[in-house]
């Protein structure tokens, strides 16, 4: 898996880490049972604070993507509960947006609006 961090992008670094790992899992490139690199190693490689990596791993755990085990680090779990159902709804949403010629950004803005309402 590739993780890219851009300090100039404005998004917090832990958020960028979460996004990178999450999209690897959602795309199936990180299989269930696979171990994520040790937080210390990943922090060294990316020249960030180890606590930032641990923070990202904790967010991923709270979202149900990884399990944190003492001594074994972060292990990818089967998938977040209910993910398959939501994935099917997203596919339907995308199909509907395409049918009505709505831009992806418009749809994403709607989704964000819905969550912040």
């Amino acid at each position: 898996m590739i993780i890219r961090i851009d300090p100039a992008s404005g998004a917090p670094i832990f958020e960028q880490l979460v996004r990178a790992v999450r999209s690897e899992i959602l795309a199936g490139r990180l299989a269930s049972g696979e171990r994520l690199p040790a937080a210390r190693d990943l922090a060294t490689s990316l020249d960030v604070n180890p606590h930032t990596v641990l923070h990202a791993y904790q967010v991923l755990r709270d979202e149900g993507f990884v399990e944190l085990r003492r001594g074994r680090g972060a292990v990818v779990t089967h998938s977040a509960p209910g993910l398959d159902e939501v994935r099917a709804l997203v596919a339907a949403l995308a199909a509907s947006a395409r049918a009505h010629d709505l831009a992806a950004d418009t749809v994403l803005a709607l989704v964000r609006e819905e969550f912040h309402a």
Partner: protein, 385 residues
């Protein structure tokens, strides 16, 4: 006697060119011959030679049975004083169990690597590979992949046999060996075993030559490089695992290391040596490969570094397909072209051309992305410096 003798007439002169052409076998039958010869060699090295050594060792121990003291000493303390005893028959049985156990593991490993190589070859047709060159027109020979597994069979059998026979021999008719004799015998046994290993490595068929790097594949690798924005940081990481039969064989070998010490606690030294060898092998069944601004690193899952290429040593990285047979098996490998490899399985691998060193190959899933990031990091480092 006026008739000219046929031998002297020019028409009857032998034609050297025609005779050599007739004796040279066709390329196809030459390849089949070589394969059959390699098969016989591997069988001889993994089965017949160790069996012969074991038969000789067991024969000597058996003819000595009447002259061997009962109980005989089978273990000496650090001070050279005997502190373990066994009956001569028990000694003979321990010898047979250990040596035959080693034979089964080594022959099994050789057979397994041959099977896996043959299977990998069937799944990887030569025509499907990007730059199949002259060397690939001939079918790869799976018997050559048994090389690493077969290498240790006669060596270990020799060492075990020498130690058993010599330690029994010095006690014949009740004589007691001097303090220094036992360590010397063990050292000689290990030394001669190592020597047999070296001889075996010359006898065994050489590993297959690999494919050639072409300028086009390098250019392609560079075009696919990850382009990083200024200030952007990136890391690529993946875990490579050996296929399960390799792991299963190592577990079996680990259990077998305990057989000698279970039979006779005095054989702890054997168990310890085997245990260390197997444990070192076991650390390479899985590894994490990481690419970042320092270059590429290979570490076992316990964190032990087993390979690295610094970023400033990298010329270009590319994703390739390798077969364990190209490198003659699993683990730390060299192939016929001198590529250094950490080979955990067949399939995708990152190959790195290095400055002032032979290419480095490590098998890993997702090799395309790893090579692309390494090339991107190299380009960035060269561009900004």
């Amino acid at each position: 006697m006026t008739e000219p003798r046929p031998e002297t007439s020019p028409e009857y002169r032998p034609e050297p060119q025609a005779s050599t052409a007739a004796s040279g076998p066709s390329a196809a039958s030459g390849s089949a011959d070589r394969r059959a010869r390699d098969r016989r060699l591997v069988l001889a090295v993994t089965v017949w030679v160790p069996l012969t050594i074991i038969a000789v060792g067991a024969g000597i121990l058996m003819t000595w049975l009447p002259r061997t003291p009962d109980p005989m000493v089978t273990h000496w303390g650090a001070d050279g004083e005997p502190n373990g005893w066994m009956s001569p028959a028990g000694n003979l049985i321990a010898y047979l169990v250990i040596s035959l156990g080693v034979l089964v593991v080594m022959a099994g490993a050789a057979w397994l690597s041959t099977r896996v190589a043959a299977k990998a070859q069937a799944e990887l047709p030569d025509s499907g590979r990007p730059d199949a060159g002259q060397t690939d027109t001939e079918q790869a020979n799976p018997w050559r992949s048994a090389r690493s597994a077969a290498l240790f069979a006669p060596a270990v059998t020799t060492a075990v046999t020498i130690v058993f026979v010599a330690l029994t021999g010095v006690q014949l008719d009740g004589s007691e060996p001097a303090d220094w004799v036992v360590p010397v015998i063990v050292a000689v046994g290990l030394g001669l075993g190592a020597l047999v290993g070296v001889v075996t490595s010359f006898v065994l068929p050489a590993p297959e030559p690999g494919e050639h790097t072409s300028a086009e594949t390098i250019a392609h690798a560079l075009r696919a490089a990850v382009r990083l924005a200024p200030g952007e940081r990136a890391v690529w990481t993946a875990v490579a695992r050996a296929p399960w039969p390799v792991t299963a064989l190592l577990v079996l070998a680990l259990l077998l290391t305990l057989v000698p010490v279970a039979l006779d606690p005095s054989l702890w030294a054997f168990s310890l040596v085997f245990l260390v060898v197997v444990a070192v092998l076991a650390t390479t069944t899985a590894a994490r490969i990481t690419v970042d601004t320092t270059g590429l690193r290979v570490r076992t899952l316990l964190g032990l570094p087993i390979g690295r290429v610094r970023l400033d040593q990298v010329v270009v990285a590319r994703a390739v397909d390798v077969r364990p047979s190209e490198f003659g098996g699993w683990g730390f490998r060299f192939d016929a072209r001198g590529r250094r490899g950490i080979i955990l399985r067949g399939g995708s691998a990152i190959e790195i051309e290095r400055i002032g060193a032979q290419p480095f190959v490590v098998t890993v899933p997702d090799a395309e992305n790893g090579a692309a990031l390494l090339n991107g990091l190299v380009a960035e480092a060269r561009g900004t410096n």
